[in-house]
C-alpha cells in the first residue's frame, strides 16, 4: 500500500514538470514572455513596425509606445467576426493623433503561413500578421482562447510590460482605444 502511494506521488512529481513548462495567461503588470517573430518581407509592414531589417525581431523592437497583440486563428469563428472591428481599430489609430504611437500585430496560433495569408486576404487586414504554426508562442502565453488581446507598454527598459489582457471582442473601438492610450500613459 505504501509503495502504491509512493508510486502515485512520484508520478505526480514526474508529471508536473511538463505542466509548468507552459506559461500562465498574460496578466496586467507582468512582463511579456520573450519570443521572436520574422521581420515582414513587405516593406510597408516593416516601416509600420519601424524595423530596419534583419531576420527576426521582438515586440520590444517595435517603434511604438504601446502595442496591441491579437492572438487569433483563421479557424476561430469569433476571430472572423471580430476581424472588421480590429481593422477599424487600426484605421482609427492611423487616422488620428495616436498614429505611430500605438501599433497592432496579430499572431495566428496553430496557423500555417498559408492559413494566416488566407485570413489576411479574406478580411483585408492592414496590419502585420505572423504564423505560430507549432503553437510555440501560444504555449508561452498560457494557451489562451481566441481572440485574445494583449496590450503592452513598450519603449522602456526591460521587457514590454502587459498593461491589459482580454479574452474576446471589445465592446467599442473608441472605448478600447481610449483605454489603451490611458493605460499606456500616452498623452
Amino acid at each position: 500500500m505504501k509503495r502504491w502511494i509512493r508510486a502515485v506521488m512520484m508520478a505526480a512529481i514526474l508529471c508536473w514538470t511538463p505542466a509548468t513548462a507552459s506559461s500562465a495567461e498574460p496578466a496586467a503588470g507582468q512582463p511579456l514572455p520573450d519570443f521572436a517573430l520574422a521581420v515582414p518581407k513587405d516593406a510597408g509592414l516593416r516601416d509600420y513596425l519601424g524595423l530596419s531589417g534583419g531576420a527576426t525581431f521582438r515586440i520590444g523592437d517595435i517603434k511604438a509606445e504601446a502595442v496591441v497583440i491579437e492572438i487569433f486563428s483563421m479557424y476561430c469563428p469569433y476571430c472572423q467576426k471580430e476581424a472588421p472591428v480590429v481593422n477599424e481599430l487600426y484605421r482609427k489609430i492611423e487616422g488620428g493623433p495616436l498614429k505611430g504611437r500605438i501599433k497592432l500585430v496579430g499572431i495566428g496560433v496553430g496557423n500555417s503561413p498559408f492559413e494566416v495569408e488566407t485570413f489576411r486576404k479574406k478580411y483585408a487586414i492592414p496590419f502585420p500578421l505572423f504564423p505560430d504554426g507549432d503553437f510555440t508562442i501560444h504555449k508561452l502565453v498560457g494557451e489562451v482562447r481566441t481572440p485574445f488581446f494583449i496590450v503592452l507598454k513598450t519603449r522602456q527598459t526591460g521587457a514590454p510590460k502587459v498593461i491589459h489582457a482580454k479574452l474576446g471582442a471589445f465592446e467599442s473601438v473608441d472605448g478600447f482605444l481610449e483605454f489603451v492610450a490611458k493605460s499606456a500613459e500616452i498623452k
Binding site: R3, A7, V8, Y75, F119, T146
Partner: protein
C-alpha cells in the same frame, strides 16, 4: 521495486494522456462547451477505398433539410468530403469555420464541400450554430450509425469517424485521401494543392 516502477509508469502515462489534446487553440465561440477527450489514437480504422477508385455512393440527411446524394454531383462538381470525428470536440470545432471563409477556393476549382459527422441532426444544429452561417451542406451519418464512414473504412472503434478528407472528381473518382491524425487539423494548403491538381 519492479511493481512500483510499473505503477509509476502507468500513472504517469495516464496523466500525460489526459494533458494532451489541448494543443489546438480553442475559440472563444464555444466557451466552455467543447469537451476535451484528451489525446486519441491517431488513426483507429482501416480504409476500404483507394485513390483511383469510384467513390461509393451515398445519400445522407442534410442539416438544412432533405437529403444529399453524392452521385448527384457527378458530371457537375468536384466534391470534397470532410469527415470530422464528432460535434463539440476540440479540433473539429475549428476545422469547418476555417473552410467557411474559403468558399472562393472551392468555387475556383468548381468544387463543393460536404461536411459529415456521425452525429444526429439536432446535435449538428446546435453545434454548427456556433460557427456562423455555413455555406456548405452538413450531413448526418447518424443512422444506421456511421454507415457511410464504415463503407469508406473510417469508422473508429468508439463509433466516431476519422478526421478524413476525400477529393472526388467530376467523374466520381477518388483523387485524394487524407485520413489525418485525429488530434490535428489538416493544413489548408494541402487541400488547396489537391484542388489545384483537378484543373
Amino acid at each position: 521495486m519492479g511493481r512500483t516502477a510499473r505503477r509509476i509508469a502507468l500513472v504517469a502515462g495516464l496523466a500525460v494522456l489526459l494533458w494532451a489534446g489541448t494543443a489546438a487553440a480553442a475559440s472563444e465561440a464555444y466557451r466552455d462547451n467543447v469537451y476535451d477527450p484528451g489525446k486519441l489514437k491517431p488513426v483507429d480504422s482501416a480504409l476500404k477505398v483507394k485513390v483511383g477508385q469510384r467513390a461509393p455512393d451515398f445519400t445522407l440527411k442534410a442539416l438544412s433539410g432533405g437529403t444529399v446524394t453524392l452521385g448527384g454531383f457527378r458530371g457537375k462538381k468536384n466534391v470534397v468530403l470532410s469527415f470530422v470525428p464528432a460535434a463539440w470536440t476540440p479540433v473539429c470545432s475549428d476545422q469547418w469555420p476555417g473552410y467557411n471563409i474559403v468558399k472562393d477556393l472551392f468555387d475556383a476549382h468548381d468544387a463543393i464541400l460536404l461536411g459529415i459527422t456521425v452525429d444526429n441532426i439536432p446535435t449538428l444544429f446546435s453545434w454548427t450554430n456556433q460557427m456562423g452561417k455555413l455555406w456548405f451542406p452538413v450531413l448526418s451519418d447518424f443512422y444506421p450509425h456511421g454507415a457511410v464512414a464504415k463503407r469508406y473504412g473510417i469508422l473508429r472503434s468508439d463509433g466516431t469517424s476519422e478526421r478524413a478528407l476525400f477529393v472526388i472528381d467530376k467523374k466520381g473518382v477518388i483523387r485524394y485521401i487524407d485520413v489525418h491524425d485525429i488530434n490535428e487539423r489538416p493544413p489548408l494548403e494541402a487541400l488547396a494543392a489537391e484542388l489545384e491538381k483537378l484543373r
